[in-house]
């Protein structure tokens, strides 16, 4: 009886959700349409001059208010909280920041993020460029690129499952069901199968490989677009002058692609600093694999220390500020040129 009631309630809740969703799908466009019409009516009923002043603000108001509530105010609030204690009651000065840079666990976290930053970014760039250049010379270019780009469509969570399966470990002598150990034992008969995710000397590398698998496609797509932008005439002229393909790559292609490479590198860096899902699903930050975003999540939910969690988040923001400034500068020059 109670079970039946429970099921009925569950079913009821579910239909409720679906009703809510349908309502949202219908209501959002109607609401926005009505908003545009009403504000236009208000604007046209004022003088021409007032209308010109008011109208733009009506148009940006929904976006700007959401951005202020969900981004601007929280950022300022988090910076303030980072100078306060665990429950945000007392001002503690720089104590949370001192903790970040002195606690031994936190130092491991910072080291791991540095490992990610260097190896993930470098590998994605090199592999992405290599694949872009190689696939440019074959007939099955689009098939090859689709293979590499495919993981971009998958969630980090699914990728985590995929790669936990790849790294699966069985003791030596028994059949390996993990692809990595199986291939290595097949090629090298003396190879001792490894528990890649549990071995402290390999687990960080194992996680970074997953990131590289997912993001190389992104680097490749953009680098490939940049590569296609190089005029064929320049390359042909160099070939006629007898330059080897390798010389052409290092002397002509690489320098011309530097701006594109910079853009890809900054995007990769922004994303790698915030890496969370891969580590959460595959090791949950255990055995020395924790990174900044995972530590912040733990401080927030497991330790309930909002001061430290805020300081860690602020550290991420500070790390990203140079990229922010670069973006603003780039936008400024684009605007004045265009």
């Amino acid at each position: 009886m109670a079970w039946g009631k429970y099921k009925a309630r569950q079913k009821n809740m579910h239909t409720n959700y679906i009703m809510v969703a349908i309502a949202a799908l219908a209501v959002i466009p109607i609401f926005l349409w009505a908003y545009l019409m009403i504000t236009e009516q208000i604007a046209t009923h004022t003088s021409r001059k007032t209308a010109g002043v008011l109208r733009p603000w009506f148009w940006i108001l929904p976006a700007v208010s959401l951005l202020i509530i969900f981004l601007v105010y929280p950022v300022i609030n988090t910076i303030v909280l980072s100078f306060m204690d665990a429950r945000s009651e007392h001002f503690v000065g720089l104590r949370n920041y001192k903790y970040i840079f002195s606690d031994s666990g936190m130092l491991v976290v910072l080291r791991n993020n540095l490992l990610w930053l260097v190896f993930f970014t470098a590998a994605c760039l090199v592999l992405g460029l290599l694949i872009a250049v190689l696939s440019d010379r074959v007939k099955y270019e689009s098939v090859a690129k689709t293979c590499i780009f495919l993981p971009m469509a998958i969630s980090f969570v699914a990728a985590g499952v995929i790669w936990r399966f790849m790294y699966e470990f069985r003791p030596a002598g028994t059949p390996q069901i993990g692809t990595v150990n199986a291939i290595l034992t097949a090629i090298f008969p003396n190879f001792e199968p490894k528990a890649w995710l549990f071995n402290r000397s390999t687990n960080n590398a194992a996680l970074i490989v997953v990131g590289i698998w997912m993001w190389t496609g992104f680097a490749m797509v953009i680098l490939s677009a940049g590569l296609k932008g190089i005029s064929e005439d320049i390359l042909e002229a160099a070939r006629i002058d007898g330059a080897s393909e390798i010389a052409i790559f290092f002397r002509i292609i690489l320098p011309l692609m530097m701006p594109t490479i910079t853009v890809v590198a900054t995007t990769l860096i922004i994303n790698v600093l915030k890496v969370f899902d891969i580590v959460y699903v595959m090791t949950n930050g255990n055995l020395g694999t924790e990174v900044i975003a995972n530590r912040m999540y733990k401080e927030m939910f497991n330790f309930r220390n909002y001061g430290r969690a805020s300081a860690i988040a602020t550290l991420l923001l500070v790390a990203i500020i140079p990229v922010m400034i670069m973006n603003l500068k780039r936008f400024n020059t684009e605007e004045s040129n265009g």
Binding site: Y17, L25, L32, W33, L36, R55, P56, W59, I60, A63, V64, L66, L67, F70, L71, V72, P74, N77, T78, L81, L127, I131, L134, V138, C147, F149, L150, P151, M152, A153, I154, S155, V157, A158, V161, I162, F165, P175, I177, G178, T179, A182, W213, V221, T260, V264, T267, K274, D277, Y280, V281, A293, Y297, M300, A309, L316, I320, L328, F331, E334
Partner: protein, 290 residues
């Protein structure tokens, strides 16, 4: 004679010289596909076989494949409901930033007002703000107004988080529409809402498509935002949250994990293969101006 054999050899030699190129490229592609292929094959294998031998053994006779893993995760493993939840979260979270962002993008592109550039620069700056900076204050706000664990809360959060990119991408596109087009409509007496709805939105469909795919994939594949704002409630959990819970509780229950992971990949993969061109465009727009 010598001349003739030389002319035969040159294309042959060139083709031989290109062998390393093909070998390297094909090896990379195989390496990239293998992990996903292993998952797909395993998800159709019976439980006892997944645990005892590698997925490549599935291609040896006698074949033994099953749909039992899918039946299990869909009915008893909460994946059916999670699939619906993922849709309920992702669809509104994709549409809202597009509508709201398009209005703002139109104003930024075709209206003059004070602080226009300053405001736009702020939006560019917000593009890269780590979302971690917003989580504690937003979670507290949601707790206060009772939005934690509700779809409305996560819709609003995803909408706001998606807005900077939506405005950036759509403004770039809308600003490039020919001035004469907009002005002639104005001379004909069309109001701003009419120009926006009848002229700007329809011509922006390619940009909107790229943005929609990008935002949909982002929300569909998101784990962190859902973990934080939806809490642990299975009623509202999207697939990413359910799967990561399964990883923790089943550990090595590969027959269920592989099936669950593949279910979560089906929709993005369909979108990806059907609309690859727009997806790639969205990715390109995200980092370089077109």
């Amino acid at each position: 004679m010598a001349n003739k054999s030389g002319s035969v050899r040159t294309p042959l030699r060139r083709a031989l010289g290109r062998i390393p190129l093909h070998v390297i490229l094909i090896l990379i592609c195989v390496a990239w596909i293998t992990p996903s292929a292993g998952l797909l094959v395993s998800s159709f294998r019976p439980k006892n076989m997944i645990a005892t031998n590698g997925w490549w053994e599935a291609f040896k006779t006698p074949f033994s494949f099953t749909l039992e893993n899918y039946a299990y995760v869909l009915t008893r493993g909460n994946m059916g409901r999670s699939f619906v939840n993922s849709l309920l979260i992702a669809v509104p979270s994709t549409l809202m930033p597009i509508f709201i962002g398009a209005c703002a993008a139109y104003a930024f592109a075709w209206m003059r007002f004070p602080f226009r550039k300053t405001l736009y620069l702020m939006i560019i700056a917000l593009l890269v703000v780590p979302l971690q900076m917003t989580m504690i204050p937003i979670l507290r706000l949601f707790n206060k107004v009772g939005l934690t664990g509700s779809f409305v809360g996560i819709w609003l959060a995803h909408t706001a988080y998606g807005l900077p990119f939506a405005i950036y991408l759509l403004r770039n596109f809308i600003a490039q529409l020919p001035r004469s087009l907009i002005e002639s409509a104005q001379i004909d007496g069309a109001s701003h809402p009419t120009i926006f709805l009848k002229l700007v939105l329809p011509t922006s469909i390619p940009a909107i498509a790229s943005l929609a795919i990008f935002q949909f994939m982002w929300v569909w594949n998101d784990l962190l935002i859902a973990l934080i704002y939806l809490g642990g409630t299975p009623d509202v959990a999207p697939m990413t949250v359910t799967i990561s819970n399964m990883v923790n509780s089943y550990g090595g229950g590969w027959e269920y994990l592989t099936a669950a992971a593949f279910i979560s990949m089906v929709l993005p993969l369909i979108v990806f293969f059907a609309l690859q061109k727009y997806f790639v465009k969205g990715v390109l727009a995200g980092s370089v101006k077109e």
